[in-house]
């Protein structure tokens, strides 16, 4: 079976991802958020005896090397040389789409144009003469309506045909520049032909144009091949750039772009017929309300409120079910497995670990569904539009709002979502401050602690914590912007796409895709982490206890059995039995407590006690914070073990234990602030490592700990001074 590679290219919001889904049926995000597909996505399709590899390139407006997406798209076409490039053109935005198209044509691969959403364009009063367009560009043009699945077969047939007809690439109709620039291009091409035979993999005309545009990547490529020869040609291109500046009184980039748009304007004039009958722009009318000067922000806040309500209130029900399910399963396993280390590992290590992950699945699903809804309708871009002024205060892009917002759900997908930012500095800054957004895993800690110590005011305290997190993010943002990440912001210039009716299928794919990513990435790490923490708390096995618990238990048993034997009353017997059971349970908890305190993790806790002392966190809480590195929800279960209420977190018992342990409202508050601000979980650190760099991951470890400790110290010591206990 013959293999062919088809690359899909196009502007953001051109319906590219929808076509990709139609072609491959793969799980793939579709969104109105500009630049949502950052990763290179592949899918396979078998058709007419061909094995087709479909690659979805990131949506870009051009192929300049200014953003990761653009570099990725360009490098793929240049280096991997797909057999055919399908360029999806938004019929309603013909002129702008053609700008990218002309750059793709320069890369000398066979190109097929998919004129998408022509029905929508027609409703706006635009009719496109495809035959003429095809003739003018010397390329096949296919009509598609991606969201209705129309024209997809035709598109594939044409693409395959084109790939087979031009196996060695094809030169389409290119932009005709004016005489001076053209002669400069041909001069540079000659020079490239002569001096840079190694570069023959790239089209020389393209390289020449890029030199005139002062493209850094291309310049570096030349320099890597040969410094001396590069110096010569770069000197020439620099001279040419000066000459263009002299001739046209403007920068070469502007001159070349103007020429390109001039060429495009000619094509558009020939092929596009705009009828006077214009249908009302529905999108514009929606925006009259949604981005209204007065209503815009309140509506936005309302949407966010609804999203949180759905995520946390509605999500609470399935969370409960899963919780009980896990407990049932755990006790079922506890019943059939023989006692011992293995059972302990399965129950407290693996099942507890997996349980702590899937318990968040409902929340994550709902949150991602809401975000997918925002993206697919086109509201996400409006959110950035509304929020940019505020985000700009921290030195961030309006787009940063989305990752930070998602941070309230889970920091890991939030950090991944930061990829939508073009500037590396903006991206790193967003990644670094996102962990201060209080993720949903921290909520159980707040609920237990605030619920126990603040009673009715728990809600306000938790709200205050979320706010503190936001303030810490803002302060850190400003600080980092002024120190480590200096520099101008990336341009905000962003398309506000037309509102679209979201497709249910696409929403589901979108939601599931992200949730799966969460489960996969998190599941593994948390599982390993849980097992490690379990091992730390389960070993060493042979602990010398301060008193002989087994003997004490035996004594009680003996006493009780003798008492039972001596008494005749049945109710009394039962009562005695119950009493004995409670006593034994009490002793067992005590043994567990001592065992935990003498385990490795207990030893670690003791070792770091001086560190936690000034912030009012005693060693048991300190240990749970260390355990919380695996996942924040582990904090609660570890507290449970260490305060002697057993691994299963019975809220009421835990509350009692906490109150009796001598923890005060103030130290609970200090602890919550620490949990809010300190090192995010291993998974988040891993995500930072992968998305930013190892150094930034370590920076996060250090920085967050410092911030958390300082904040808790401030709160605790101030509280002590003011006389709160």
């Amino acid at each position: 079976m013959k293999q062919l590679t088809i690359a899909l290219a196009g502007n953001p919001n051109s319906g590219k991802t929808t076509i990709f889904n139609d072609l491959t049926g793969a799980r793939q995000k579709v969104g109105n958020w500009p630049g949502v597909t950052v990763e290179k996505k592949e899918g396979r399709l078998k058709k007419n005896g061909y094995d087709l590899k479909i690659v979805d390139l990131p949506g870009t407006y051009s192929l300049t090397p200014f953003s990761m997406e653009e570099i990725a798209a360009r490098d793929f076409i240049l280096n991997e040389k797909p057999d055919v490039v399908v360029n999806i053109i938004d019929a309603a935005n013909l002129e702008r789409s053609l700008f990218l198209a002309m750059q793709i044509v320069e890369l000398d691969r066979p190109v097929v144009f998919a004129l998408n959403m022509a029905d929508l364009a027609k409703s706006k009063g635009m009719v496109i003469d495809t035959e003429k367009l095809s003739l003018l560009l010397n390329l096949p043009v296919v009509f598609t309506v991606a969201n209705k699945g129309k024209g997809i077969d035709d598109l594939i047939d044409t693409a395959v045909n084109e790939a087979e007809s031009f196996p060695d690439g094809k030169k389409g109709r290119k932009v005709i520049y004016n005489r001076e620039i053209n002669s400069m291009i041909s001069h540079l091409v000659e020079e490239l032909d002569r001096d840079f035979k190694e570069l023959i993999v790239y089209p020389n005309r393209w390289t020449a144009i890029k030199l005139l545009e002062d493209d850094k990547v291309v310049k570096e490529n030349l320099q890597q091949i040969s410094k001396e020869r590069a110096a010569v040609i770069l000197k020439h291109s620099e001279e040419f750039r000066h000459r263009i500046e002299d001739l046209f009184q403007d920068d070469p980039e502007i001159v070349l772009t103007d020429e390109c748009y001039g060429f495009i304007a000619g094509i558009v004039k020939e092929t596009l017929l705009i009828s006077s009958r214009k249908k009302a722009d529905i999108s514009r009318n929606i925006d009259l309300v949604l981005t209204n000067r007065f209503l815009g922000l309140p509506i936005f806040v309302f949407f966010i409120w609804v999203m949180f309500q759905l995520t946390f209130s509605l999500g609470a029900y399935p969370t409960d079910w899963i919780n009980s399910g896990v407990s049932l399963f755990s006790s079922f396993l506890g019943g059939i497995l023989p006692n011992g280390l293995f059972k302990d590992l399965i129950l407290n290590g693996i099942v507890a670990g997996i349980g702590s992950v899937i318990i968040f699945l409902p929340n994550i699903l709902i949150l991602f569904f809401c975000i997918a809804l925002f993206e697919d309708t086109g509201y996400m871009a409006r959110a950035a539009f509304l929020m940019d002024r505020i985000m700009h205060i921290i030195g961030l892009h309006g787009k940063s709002f989305i990752p930070m917002l998602m941070g309230f759900g889970c920091n890991v997908p939030a950090i991944m979502a930061a990829r939508t930012l073009e500037s590396r500095k903006d991206r790193i800054l967003t990644i670094l401050i996102t962990p201060f957004m209080s993720c949903s895993a921290r909520l159980p800690v707040y609920i237990i602690l605030a619920g126990t110590f603040f009673g009715d005011k728990a809600g306000s305290v938790i709200f205050g914590l979320y706010l503190t997190g936001i303030l810490a993010a803002i302060a850190s943002g400003r600080l980092l912007r002024a120190t480590l990440l200096k520099g101008a912001d990336a341009p905000f210039v962003m398309e506000l796409p037309s509102y679209r009716m979201p497709m249910f299928k696409s929403l589901m794919i979108h939601m599931w895709d992200r949730s799966r990513m969460f489960l996969k990435k998190m599941g593994g790490v948390i599982l390993v982490g849980s097992v490690v923490i379990w091992a730390l708390s389960a070993f060493p096995r042979n602990i010398t206890f301060s008193r002989d618990y087994s003997k004490a238990i035996d004594t009680i048993k003996n006493e009780v059995s003798s008492q039972i034997l001596s008494s005749k009353d049945k109710t009394l017997k039962q009562k005695l039995k119950n009493e004995a059971r409670t006593k034994i349970a009490e002793i067992e908890k005590k043994r567990e407590q001592e065992r935990a305190s003498k385990s490795y993790i207990g030893q670690i806790g003791r070792a770091v006690e001086p560190f936690f002392k000034p912030v009012g966190i005693e060693w048991r809480s300190g240990v749970s914070l260390i355990a919380g590195l695996v996942a924040k929800e582990v904090v609660v279960s570890t507290i449970g073990v260490l305060y002697g209420v057993g691994g299963k977190t019975d809220p009421d018992a835990l509350k009692n234990a906490l109150v009796h342990s001598g923890m005060t409202g103030l130290s609970a508050l200090s602890m919550m602030i620490f949990v809010l601000l300190y090192i995010p979980c291993i998974a988040t650190v891993t995500a930072i490592w992968k998305e930013a760099s190892m150094n930034w991951a370590f920076f996060t470890l250090f920085y967050t700990t410092m911030v958390a400790w300082s904040a808790s110290f401030l709160v605790y010591q101030t509280g002590l001074l003011l006389g709160f206990i």
Partner: protein
């Protein structure tokens, strides 16, 4: 010849002043002697210095008073050049001369041109005007300064009356856009109308006047043009029929306004992004709205909606601005 004339004047001075009964005659006489010896236009200070060189110590007030006397009796005349200090020159009876004053170094050149003198009398007569006396001062730049001066200077340093060509705009993008939005472009020929008024310069280009603050004028680099003699009366007829193009920054436009992009400024990524999104010269732009917090703004361009920050919009110059009819 000079000395003979001076001899005569000293004699007259003696007669006049003794007759008038002026006090401290001897001292005043010394001042006259020194003054006549200096064949220059001197200030009081310089005169005091010269006296000191002759080991004569005198109060400046006294010297000034004496010079006033000399002026009163027609031995000296006052020259006040370009806001500078008062200078005194010899006044030789029946021996008129005119001055050329360098505005750069302050050098004064005396000249006399019979043809010019005659021309003046004829000119006055032609208007039925009886000329009693006249003063003529030509301000300009002396040959030494002309040789020394730099070719390109900032507008802030240009003197009133200069005829210049705008070479380039220095400074940041904002300053450049301000200037561009005023309608000034490199290559324009301008006249410096006035440099008075607290650092502001008034310049004229064609038939239009511009007022430029000191800060901004430092950022306009200008070059001296060849025809420095033509004083601002050019092109008026040509430009009278042309409607001036009104330029504005996109960031200054109001909701609902439309215009054509005249220039896309900015650097690197921003400029590139603007261009690739289709925000290029000659494109029609409609300001749809500003965000609730006044930043960013939404525009419609090439049939689609784009949002950009106000700061970014300030890099884009718009011309032919109209307000939408239906709003």
């Amino acid at each position: 010849m000079m000395n003979i004339r001076h001899e005569q004047e000293i004699k007259q001075f003696r007669d006049l002043f003794t007759g008038e009964g002026v006090d401290e005659f001897e001292n005043r006489f010394k001042i006259l002697e020194v003054f006549l010896r200096i064949e220059q236009h001197v200030t009081i200070e310089e005169l005091v210095d010269h006296l000191r060189q002759d080991k004569i110590s005198m109060e400046p007030d006294f010297v000034e008073e004496t010079m006033e006397f000399l002026c009163k009796f027609g031995f000296a005349s006052k020259l006040k050049l370009n806001n500078g200090p008062v200078r005194y020159e010899h006044r030789h009876l029946g021996c008129h001369h005119d001055h050329m004053i360098c505005t750069k170094c302050g050098k004064i050149i005396e000249f006399r041109d019979e043809a010019l003198e005659k021309q003046q009398v004829q000119l006055a007569a032609a208007y039925g005007f009886h000329m009693l006396q006249h003063k003529m001062m030509i301000y300009g730049i002396c040959s030494d300064c002309l040789k020394k001066r730099e070719l390109i200077i900032s507008l802030a340093r240009a003197k009133q009356g200069e005829h210049l060509k705008i070479e380039s705009f220095a400074g940041g993008r904002k300053a450049q856009m301000r200037l561009a939005s005023m309608g000034l472009r490199p290559g324009d020929i301008i006249d410096v109308v006035s440099t008075q008024g607290g650092g502001q310069s008034v310049i004229a280009s064609g038939a239009k006047r511009f007022v430029i603050g000191q800060g901004l004028s430092r950022k306009v680099m200008v070059k001296y043009t060849e025809d420095s003699q033509s004083f601002g009366c050019h092109d008026i007829d040509d430009s009278a029929g042309v409607k001036p193009v009104k330029l504005m920054l996109l960031s200054e436009m109001k909701q609902g306004q439309e215009g054509i992009i005249a220039r896309v400024g900015g650097h690197g990524v921003l400029r590139r992004r603007l261009l690739e999104m289709g925000i290029n010269r000659g494109t029609k732009v409609h300001v749809e709205k500003y965000a609730p917090l006044k930043d960013p703004l939404e525009i419609i361009i090439k049939g689609y909606h784009v949002s950009l920050r106000v700061e970014e919009a300030s890099h884009i110059t718009i011309e032919n601005i109209v307000r939408e009819n239906n709003s």
